[in-house]
């Protein structure tokens, strides 16, 4: 033991105290880090659990679904629920309707919004600002409020319970957002690229088709995916406008599943999984473009 009071004793005592304090701080930091990470994992589990439960239920045989003590894993694994869901009346009809509505709508929306995007990104003209303000403003109008006049309008021209009416409404719903986003993509491509192609002998249209169009491709894809997701997920317009079961879209079919047949959770969860699948897939693709867009901005800024 070192006698207290000697110079050496004080020094080594201080050193020891310092390392202890360092160690304490270090341990406390480690504990805090582990705590934060644990909470983070907890958040992810809580957020993901409902989706996991849907997928797990859809792969369970019926007797494993209706249990008082839940079975956490789909241990005997079955595809029966998916077969049941697909065999259900009108499922395939409604998948076809959804694809038709979204496909036709997107083709029209991409063409129309691209023209407007070029006009607002490449030309200065009187009323340009007014047009852009309108594009932003109409996105604030809640669709729920317009459903009554839309129904009466389409009813007076005999387009209720028909897909063209729904296509027209979806077109108007996604168009403002698509114009706005595409405008950004077109504006990001320098007009000088087109001009130099024209100096090299391209016509204006040729320069546009050969230079700008390929460059704006990713923008078109990203915008199309946004439009797809919005239209694919839409419920109330389709529900109000389409009354006969063979004419409806997938979300309407999914929402009426329990009312028509009582809660058959297995096939319902299988159908829900199938409905969500394309959206999740497209969303993951979109993530890449979003990430790309973010890094592009970072380099520039």
């Amino acid at each position: 033991m070192i006698a207290p009071g000697t110079a050496q004793g004080i020094r080594s005592g201080r050193a020891r105290a310092a390392t202890e304090v360092n160690l304490q701080v270090h341990v406390r930091q480690r504990v805090t880090q582990v705590l934060y990470d644990a909470i983070g994992v907890g958040v992810a589990v809580v957020m993901l659990f409902p989706i996991y439960w849907m997928v797990a239920t859809s792969f369970k045989p019926g007797r494993d679904i209706l249990t008082l003590v839940p079975k956490w894993f789909p241990a005997p694994f079955t595809l029966q629920n998916f077969q049941d869901a697909i065999a259900r009346p009108f499922f395939l009809d409604d998948v076809k309707n959804s694809l038709l509505v979204v496909g036709v709508m997107l083709a029209l929306a991409l063409a129309i919004s691209f023209l407007a995007a070029v006009a607002t990104a490449r030309f200065g003209f009187k009323g340009r600002t007014a047009f852009l303000v309108m594009i932003i403003g109409v996105q604030m109008v809640p669709l729920n409020a317009l459903i009554i006049p839309l129904y009466l309008m389409l009813d007076s021209v005999g387009q209720t319970d028909a897909l063209p009416g729904v296509i027209a409404v979806y077109l108007a719903v996604v168009l403002p957002f698509m114009v706005w986003t595409l405008r950004g993509f077109v504006a990001n491509i320098p007009a000088e690229l087109e001009e130099s192609a024209m100096i090299d002998g391209c016509t204006r249209v040729g320069a546009f088709l050969r230079i700008t169009f390929p460059l704006v491709g990713p923008g078109l894809v990203a915008t199309a995916i946004f439009g797809f997701i919005q239209a694919w997920n839409e419920y109330i317009v389709a529900y109000v406008l389409l009354s006969s079961p063979g004419n409806q879209t997938l979300t309407v079919w999914l929402a009426s599943f329990t009312t028509n047949h009582g809660p058959e959770w297995g096939p319902l969860m299988a159908a829900a999984t199938l409905t969500g699948l394309p959206v999740v897939a497209f969303f993951l693709i979109l993530q890449r473009y979003l990430a790309g867009g973010l890094t592009a901005g970072a380099v520039k800024g």
């Binding site: 958040v43 239920t57 209706l66 839940p70 809640p142 129904y151 108007a172 809660p263």
Partner: protein, 320 residues
């Protein structure tokens, strides 16, 4: 731009013109209008015109007979008078406001907490949380309602089992939708779960923009974590909080899908929010005029929210 203005002083460059003047004039004065005309037509015909028609309808008696004849009876403000003295409408308004407040407050607070947490966790955990958020974001609303319906099922629902196992009470065969307060609580959970990803990712993106020097300076000055957040981070993020609060308010005040589908498309009047009430009056009991008047009031509330948002944003922009 500065370069372009300075150029003529240096040397006169002939203007670059690949086509004759007439075509240039045409391009500048006709082409842009031709390009935007399809968009203008679609938006005017399918959004703006119905909006005007909604107001027109709200001033008419428009029932089943009028629907068949495609013409309503002008009644002036009678529909609005009828609604404003209707005790059910008062309940609906109060319920919608409380529901909106609960959803927006929970969404913004929880999302901000998760976004702050994302700054602290190691990168593997951050990727895990971000992926979970993207999956939830991608889940269609109707799909999510079906999932929560199954999880809150009174007989075999996993939530009742978990709550009982955690000794939070006896939830065996507990029907959450017998009591509208509990039922609306469940719906708040459904809405907030679906809304958290967008708000969290937006706030997190904002947090990444806050310069580290500002945070470090606050720490050097001895500010606690809470003070740093409240007096340094939050004011810097005010524009982002404004937009997420405004958008959440618009979405949650007009809530329809979650409640309507959760209650099997037959919600009792205890669950009427303003959008469902408007739907019921028009398509349930074919009083399209009354339904339109309710919808107009809903739009007015949202216009007020938007106006407040724009005013605050302009204020923030002026200060900055």
């Amino acid at each position: 731009m500065g370069m372009a203005v300075a150029a003529p002083d240096l040397e006169p460059v002939p203007p670059f013109s690949p086509s004759p003047p007439y075509r240039a004039w045409l391009r500048a004065n006709i082409l842009p209008y031709a390009l935007i005309s399809p968009s203008v037509l679609v938006i005017a015909g399918i959004l703006a015109f119905p909006l005007g028609m909604l107001v027109w309808l709200s001033l008419q008696h428009y029932g089943l007979r009028e629907l068949i004849h495609h013409a309503g009876d002008w009644v002036g403000l009678d529909n609005y008078r009828a609604i404003l003295v209707d005790p059910l409408f008062h309940q609906v308004i109060v319920r919608s406001l409380l529901f909106t407040f609960a959803c927006v407050a929970l969404t913004v607070v929880l999302s901000t907490l998760i976004a702050l947490l994302l700054l602290k966790v190691r990168s593997a955990v951050r990727i895990l949380v971000m992926s979970s958020l993207v999956f939830v974001w991608a889940t269609p609303v109707i799909v999510s309602v079906d999932i929560w319906q199954w999880m809150f099922d009174y007989e075999f629902g996993v939530i009742n089992y978990l709550l009982t196992q955690l000794h939070l009470g006896n939830f065996i065969h507990h029907n959450w939708f017998d009591n509208p307060v509990q039922g609306l609580g469940v719906l708040v959970v459904v809405v907030v779960w679906g809304a958290i990803p967008f708000v969290t990712i937006t706030v997190f993106a904002g947090l990444l923009q806050v310069p580290n020097e500002v945070i470090d300076a606050a720490k050097v000055d001895g500010a606690s974590a809470w003070h740093t957040f409240w007096y340094v981070t939050a004011p810097l993020l005010k524009p982002i909080f404004l937009i997420v609060t405004c958008l959440s308010t618009i979405w949650d005040f007009g809530v329809f899908n979650q409640i309507y589908v959760m209650l099997n498309q037959r919600p009792s009047s205890d669950y009427f929010t303003i959008a469902i009430y408007s739907y019921r009056e028009s398509f349930g009991v074919t009083q399209y005029g009354l339904g339109a008047a309710i919808a107009v009031l809903m739009v007015l509330v949202l216009v007020f929210v938007t106006f407040f948002y724009v005013r605050e944003t302009v204020k923030v922009a002026e200060i900055a």
